[in-house]
């Protein structure tokens, strides 16, 4: 996968997109997001906490996410993030671009 290198780190723009996509399923806390991405990608994509939390806060600052405190599945206080309207729009735009890009890359790779 082009967006992750060997160690599984993610390029920032891609991380934002993955976070948005993950949250499209519903509100989730930070830990849940890392777990989801990791398990859904069959352990290929591992999200660093050092990248995740600044990304979450940045997205919130841009108005793409909203946050609130809730109670986790094991009864702990946790901060939950969810998509805002703007976030949903942004996700749509980014997925579209991503699909175009991968399709284009695939074309080149297949032809060569």
């Amino acid at each position: 996968m082009g967006a992750a290198d060997k160690s599984g780190d993610l390029v920032q723009g891609t991380l934002d997109m993955l976070v948005l996509k993950t949250l499209a399923r519903g509100a989730m806390h930070g830990y849940g997001i890392t777990e989801f991405i990791q398990s859904t990608s069959n352990d290929v994509l591992r999200v660093e906490e050092g990248a995740l939390y600044p990304a979450l806060h940045r997205l919130e600052l841009r108005g793409l996410l909203a946050s609130e405190w809730g109670v986790s599945e094991n009864n702990r206080r946790a901060k939950y993030y969810r998509l805002t309207g703007a976030g949903r729009k942004q996700l749509a735009a980014e997925s579209e671009r991503w699909n175009r890009m991968t399709a284009a890359i695939a074309l080149v790779m297949d032809t060569a």
Partner: protein, 879 residues
Amino acid sequence: MRERVSAFWLRLKSLVLRRKLESDLDEELAFHLAMLAEKRGADARRQFGNATNLRERCRDLWTFAFLETLWRDLHYAIRALARTPAFTMVAVVSLALGIGANTAIFSLMDVMLLRPLPVKDPQALVEFVRADADGSQMTNLPYPVYDYFRRDRGSLADVLAIASSSAAFQDQGSSQPAAAHEVSGSFFPSLGVSPLMGRTIGPDDDRAGAANRVAVISYAFWARRFGRDPSILGSAMRRSGERFTIIGIMPPSFFGLDRGAAPDLWVPLATDPDPGEVWVLGRLRPGVSVEGARVQLEPVFRQALESMRGELAEYAERERNSFLSQRLLVNPATEGTSGIRWTYWDHLSTLKTLIGLSGLVLLIACANLANLLMARSAARSREIAIRIALGAGRWRLVRQLLTENLTVSLAGGSLGVLAAGWGHRLLLGFLVRDPSGVALDFELNYRVMTFALMLSAATGLLFGLMPAIRATRADVYGAIRSGTGQKSAWNILLAKGVLAVQIALSMVLLLGAGLFARSLRNLGAADLGLTREHLLLMDVRPAARSPQARQQFWTDLTGRVSALPGVRSMALAGDAVFGNGGWNQTVWIARPGQAPLDTHVSENRVGPGFFATAGIPLLAGREFGEQDRANSPLVALVNRSFARRFFGNENPLGKHFGDRGQASSGRYEIVGVVGDAKYGSVREKPRAMVFHPIEQEPPLDSCVLHVRTVSEPAALVPAIRRETQAIDGDALISDVRTLPQIVRGQLRQDRMFATLASFFALLALALGAIGIYGIVAYRVAQRTSEIGLRMALGAQQRDVLWLVLRETLTVLGAGAIVGIPAALGVARLAKSMLFGLQPSDPLTVVCATAILFGVGTLAGFLPARRAARLAPTLALRSE
């Protein structure tokens, strides 16, 4: 857009709720760590990585992103401004003057009208005013009004009375008189002010039979006169020989209730046997409205006036009725007595003119700034275009430019506040005779700061936004490609339009300056009807009480002073020949076969030699002489206006008039007619005046000594003082002045307007010249190849010069076409302030226009000449 707003709020929140955000972050991370530990066991902590780094990165997100760009913009702005010092200086200095002038005037208004008195609960203070049927208002109330109010207080918690002492005070070893206010015993307790040292005057001191006469002195007087020597407590001041013990010294912040007239000392009102008229103030009881107090006190006020009916017996019926029908007004006195407002702002036009002048300067500075900024962004259009091409957002660029413009205007504003402090004192110097005696300090309070800040921000935003938006609309492709890159960026028509407006505004200032200057000259040179040079005036008051002793004093004084070397002639008079204008008096003029005519005239009592000393010519009959004594027939002199008005072409000599009712119309015989003079002010119209011989009146307790000297009058003052003290050691000499000094004092405001308007007009001219120079130089650069072509085709230098100058003249012409009618319209508003010329004075209009065109053409000529001297081959190749 909503995204931006929400981010803005979040950031704003982060500024306020910083601690909360941090604890939230800590908790969020702790949760993550706990989840990790639960799932992965002991090595979770290691896996988590550098938590501190993570925290810092999150924190940066919240706060620094915002502040950092601001800081970067500011940094960049300052660097960019430093690169063009000439632009920055012109912009900042012109704005500083505009904002400074407005702030100075605002601070003056603040101190006079807006700032509350530094006393206990100033909101409850009210001032009592009497109003005539014709609407004129006076703050001086007859003493009985205070007396009645004091006894029947009703809605008032306290009643305060203040009178300025008619006699001057003196301390041991000084001949300088001190100004005193006589105050009621309630004054200091009610204002709740404590002394710096000693005690204040209390109700017990304010009794007719008080054992000890006491005085409280002001801090300024203590410092000036006693060098802050604390041991003066308990020493004495004297008033006509009576001792007053100094019992207290007030702190510097206390000036009484009148900011415009801070006295040197306060003494109990009861020490004055005849207070005459007093200012009356009150402190409202809680819950009582100003109107409520008025309604409740009006009947008391009427009773007080009614009680004076007996004293009014000698008044004419009409005057008595108008006195008795006066109404009571109550004004809030939170900011002090309105005395100062009526003294210095009596012509509201003064304030309006000041605001108008400073407003014009600010407008001109703003127009100038707008043009400078437009030119500046034009010059940078290439840089801006490149930044747009590199992906800079337009909003980002506008913000960058706006930061720059705001930096300029705030720098101008800060400098302006400094200038305002200085301007405030300057204005005060013009408005008040003795600024040191006035507690009108410039104080940088929040009102003044807010005013200056708002003004700067408004100019920066209003006049900086448009150029910034224009600049970022640049045609990127064209701008980068073209060498000069300015063609599309600077809308030359708009720039010329703004410049024309600026010139029109300058025209208003120029005409105003011309009118004020010429009016001032007219005033200074006005014919007063008397000889100004070498005339010395001073007030003299003997300590002697008995009429005989006073008479002796005046006789001795006359003898001694006329014998002094250097005295050409001298005369005593009840009132100064110029400056006060004499007392108003009703007279009844005898007319053969008809009832006497009653009318108002002015009156003065003068000694022998008065007219010769003053330089007022005798037109008919004789002056007063030795033969006019107390027991000889009563005589009078009248001036020309009196004779003209009441006798027409008849000979006034031998006619009679009286001043004690109809029956007295035969009392005085007119024995002479003197020329008209101005008695009160330079501006006054000729008025009817009568003069009585001083010897035929009861000896006066004070006189004005008029001395015509051979040379410089000031040199004689010590000798006259010495002679006076030799006759009576306790005699007071005060208010020593010469005629030119009185005139100068009267023309203070006129001089202020002339000076300010001239200064501002010069500034406007300089800014206009800079504007014209800038535009013409730019146009020449832009048209270089065209000019080269024209020259190659045979155009002469003169033709090129004309080609360029024509544009300058168009702008000047447009400015003048708008400016001259505007200036004439504005000048009409100032008509009442002009003397000896009309607002549309043709000479002034022509001169102002000529100066404007002269300076403007010169500013355009310099770059035009450079264009005309271009070598055609060079010019052709320039692009």
